[in-house]
Structure formats: C-alpha cells, structure tokens
C-alpha cells in the first residue's frame, strides 16, 4: 500500500518538475522569437509594408478590437472549426469502426475512400462553390470533408491492429460481440483514434482558413486576405499569429490531456 502510494506521489512530482521546465523553455523561446522579429523589423526598409514590429502588430489588434471585428472574426472561425471537425470525427469514428469490423464492407469501400482521400479539400472547393455558392455552407462542407478521412482511416487501421490475443481473452471470458467492441476494440484502437483526431482537427483548421479566404466568409482567413488588399501587413501577421497560437492552445488544453489520460496512462505510447 505505502509503496504504491509513494510511487504515485513521486510520479506526480516528477511530472510537475517536467511541466515547470517546459514552461520555462517556452518562455525563453518566445522571448527569442520576439527579439529576432523586432531586430529584423528594425533593420529593414519600410517595415510597415514588409514586416511590422511585434508592437505594431499588437497595436493593430487593439484597433480591430475597438472596431469590434476581431472578436467576431475569431468567433466565426472557431465556430466553424469546432462544428465542422466534431461532425467530421463523429461520422468518421463509426464509419472507420464499421470498416474495421467487417472485411467485406471494408473491401467494398476502400477504393472509394482511397480516391477521395487523395482529392484534397482545396480540390473539391470549386465544385462545392458551383453547388452551394460562396456561402457558409460551402466552407462547412469542405471542413467536414477534410476532417472525415483521417479519422476514418485511422480508426479502421486501429481496430485491425488490436492484437488477436486480447480479443481471444475477452471471448473466453464470455464477452458478446458488443462487449468485445466496447472493452477491447475501441480502447485498443485509441492510439490510432488519437492520431486520427489530431490529423482531422489539424486539417479542419487549415480548411477553415482556406475556405474563408476562397468563399469570402467573415473570419480569420478572410481577415488575412483583406489585410493584403488593404496593404495592412500588421493585420496579416496578426491573423497568422492567432491561427498558430490557437492551434498550440488546442493542442495543449484539449489534445494532450486526452492523450495523457488514455494511451499514455495505459503505456500504449511512450513520451
């Protein structure tokens, strides 16, 4: 009892030390990037046109905030990302599972999936615009399309890679088909579900930005595009930074905790 407890405490404090040193590393990295950026911006000619300083970029955000557009752009974009990728993943997981469980269905759908997976979201854009115009629907369809395949493919291969002996063990304990799916195949496919979700959300994130640019829908993508037309380089940089920072936050507060509570805790992947 006591050995198990102290080991848990040791593990926790070790984890905290690692987190602390990571945070320090991140701060050093950030400071470095800001200094380098400021330096370049200070020595080039016409920095407002080519590379506005970090300060100028920050001020432009205050400007946009005052106008009230920054928050609404940001909310529009996040909204699309969340709805699009949640639906894409919610459809992709059962579809991948179905294919992983049934070889006949998998053989039937595989060529089709392979075909569509190679036709990127950008490549289907024109036809979707023809069907649905430059609308929000168009952007949503592209996001959904892009996020569906990575998760479906990964769940399929994840289910297939669950070692036979785990399935046999559950069967000899009297597990029904449903119980095998719930207790063995789904958790066993978790490493692939994690990889697939990461890819799906990452692709969806790119699709939102590209979709907003091409379909001219209000949002961060559109803000960047408009920045170029308005000769407002600071606005472009601001948009880029928000895109990148949002991804880092998603990774840190959503994807990583999910992974460390499941596949890392189970020892299925090493960090």
């Amino acid at each position: 009892m006591s050995t198990a407890d102290s080991a848990t405490i040791r593990r926790k404090s070790l984890k905290k030390t690692i987190t602390d040193s990571r945070a320090i590393q991140l701060i050093i990295l950030l400071i470095g990037v800001v200094i380098l950026w400021s330096l370049i911006s200070a020595i080039i000619e016409r920095p407002d046109r080519y590379l506005p300083s970090p300060m100028t970029t920050l001020f432009s955000s205050v400007d946009l905030l005052k106008k009230g557009v920054l928050l609404s752009f940001y909310a529009d974009t996040l909204n699309r990302l969340v709805i699009g990728s949640v639906i894409g993943i919610a459809l992709g997981i059962p579809f991948g599972l179905l294919l992983g469980l049934n070889r006949n269905i998998a053989d039937m759908f595989y060529p089709l999936m392979n075909f569509f997976q190679s036709v990127s979201g950008i490549a289907i854009f024109p036809i979707i615009v023809i069907w649905f115009g430059n609308s929000n629907t168009t952007v949503m369809i592209v996001i959904l399309y892009t996020s569906f395949f990575p998760i479906a493919f990964n769940v399929l291969s994840g289910v297939r890679s669950v070692p036979m002996r785990y399935i046999s063990a559950a069967r000899t304990l009297g597990a029904s088909r449903f119980q095998i799916i719930k207790d063995v195949l789904l958790p066993g496919a978790m490493p692939s579900v994690a990889i697939g979700s990461r890819l799906s959300i990452g692709f969806a994130w790119r699709a939102v930005i590209a979709g907003e640019m091409l379909a001219g829908q209000a949002g961060l993508g559109n803000m960047i595009f408009a920045g170029q037309e308005l000769d407002n380089t600071a606005q472009i940089l601001l948009g880029m930074m928000l895109i990148g920072l949002t991804w880092i936050m998603l990774d840190h507060f959503l994807l990583r905790p999910l992974e460390s509570d499941t596949i890392e805790r189970w020892g299925l992947v090493q960090r």
Binding site: M1, T3, A4, P163, R165, Y166, S168, A169, A170, R171, T172, L173, G174, A175, S176, Q179, D183, V184, P187, G188, M190, T262, R265, W266, G267, L268
Partner: protein, 265 residues
C-alpha cells in the same frame, strides 16, 4: 481418479488447411483424453507438435471437425466462460487496471459492483497483488502480469482452467515462485486444470498426470502418473522427493526419444 469427467475428448484430430498449396498440415492425430474434477493434467511434447492447437480447440477458439470434445457433458462450440484460458503471451488488457482486469469476467456477466469488488479483492489477495489494485499492466513485472492473468481466469470461476505455457516468458527464479504459488492456489480453489508446458520439471512438479505428446501430428504417446499429495509439492522439499525425481526422469526420457527421432528422420 476422483470425481466426474469434466473434459472428455474422443478421437480428436485436426488438419490446418493451406490456402496456397492446397495441402493441409496434420497437427493433431486421434487424441483421447479425460480430465476429472480437481485433476491437474500437464501436457508436454516437442515444439510444434500441436499442444497449442489442442488447447485452442478446447478453448473453443479453433473450430474442429474430426472427433468430439465435451466440457461438463456439453459439446464444445465456440469459447465460453466455462473454460478459462491463461495465454502464453500475457493477454491482460493494457487499458484496464489490475482490479478491472481481474473483474472483467464478472463485469461481462453483469455481476453487481459491490459483489464484484468483494470477489476481486479475494483473488487479488490470493495471488499476492494487494497494493497493486489500481496499477496498469505496463507498470507491472512479467511475473505480476501472469498473476493477474491467473487471477482473472480464476475470478470468472470456470469449470476447467486451460493454461498454455503460462510461465514460459519469466525468468527462472520467478518461475519457481509462480509454480509454488500456483500449487497453493490449486489447493485453495480445487480447480480442474489443463496445463501445457515445455518444461519437464514443471510438468512433474505440478501435474497429477503428465501426458506426453509425440512430435507432429501430435498424438498421446504415454501418460505418467505423479502420485504426490499436493501439500508435499513445495520446491524446497520436492528436489529430494524420490517420487518427483523418478517421474521427472521418466518424462524426460520419453520426451528426449521424441526429439531424437525427429533429428534422425
């Protein structure tokens, strides 16, 4: 032998089909075997002779067409909780804690949580895993993982327990400990056990009977009775027990002759 026959195998043969050549691999040949209640039967035989094939058929994981196999009077058709299996490579689930692995069989049978936890705790204590209830398998040693596997099977309370070289993957020292422990567990639970092993010593130490398989296609070459009371089967005493050494040497000779034949042919 005491008690009724829990496992009855009659004229069981098995051929693995080969899809590419069309020829088949003859793995088992006309096996007749009965295992009675509370009996511990060990099977030894050369590598590739069909021991795992035999166990998988009894477990219901491998369909058979030639011969008959009955557990508790019922023809085997697929796996079921009446036959618990401890696999050679540990097959406990990495995403379940020790406690939840051991209780998995009861969970599958929808035993209420309170009752389940009580039973699970008994088996955790029995195999000496107290203090590790909430650990995940990757945090355990090889020997501990096999203890979990044994406890999981016992906890589901099967009619017969099937073990396929369960201690083959652990070091010699741990192996001796696990063998002593298994004996203790067998005395406490009075389980009927079919135990496959490569080790002649292990078979002689644990088995009431030892079945010697021929090389492939596996058939029963002979059987050796090991008439030592379970209470006397402790490693520190067994090494000088003449009944044990005699049985061991006897089995060893029989297995050797199979392997030598193999080399000659």
């Amino acid at each position: 032998m005491t008690g009724e026959a829990k496992l009855i195998v009659q004229g069981l043969s098995h051929h693995y089909p080969d899809e590419y050549t069309g020829e088949s691999v003859h793995a088992l040949d006309n096996i007749d075997l009965q295992i009675h209640e509370n009996e511990f039967v060990a099977i030894v035989g050369p590598s590739g002779c069909g021991k795992t094939t035999f166990l998988n058929i009894i477990a219901g994981l491998l369909p058979y067409r030639e011969g008959r196999a009955l557990v508790d009077g019922t023809e085997i058709r697929g796996p079921g909780p009446d036959r618990g299996v401890v696999f050679q490579e540990h097959a406990i689930l990495p995403w379940r804690t020790v406690k939840r692995n051991i209780g998995h069989g009861l969970e599958i049978r929808r035993v209420p949580k309170a009752e389940r936890e009580k039973t699970v705790q008994e088996y955790i204590d029995l195999v000496g895993l107290s203090g590790f209830e909430d650990r995940y398998p990757h945090e355990l040693s090889g020997g501990m993982k096999q203890r979990v596997a044994v406890a999981r099977t016992l906890c589901a309370d099967p009619v017969i327990m099937l073990m396929d070289e369960p201690f083959a993957a652990v070091d010699a020292q741990t192996r001796i400990t696990l063998q002593d422990e298994l004996n203790r567990v067998v005395m406490a639970t009075r389980k009927t056990i079919l135990f496959i092993t490569h080790s002649v010593e292990e078979a002689a130490f644990l088995g009431d009977r030892c079945i010697v398989f021929s090389r492939r296609p596996g058939h029963i070459k002979t059987e050796v009775k090991i008439d030592i009371p379970r209470e006397d089967r402790v490693w520190k005493d067994m090494v000088d027990n003449p009944k044990f050494t005699e049985a061991r040497d006897n089995i060893l000779r029989l297995v050797r002759s199979e392997v030598t034949n193999d080399v000659d042919s």
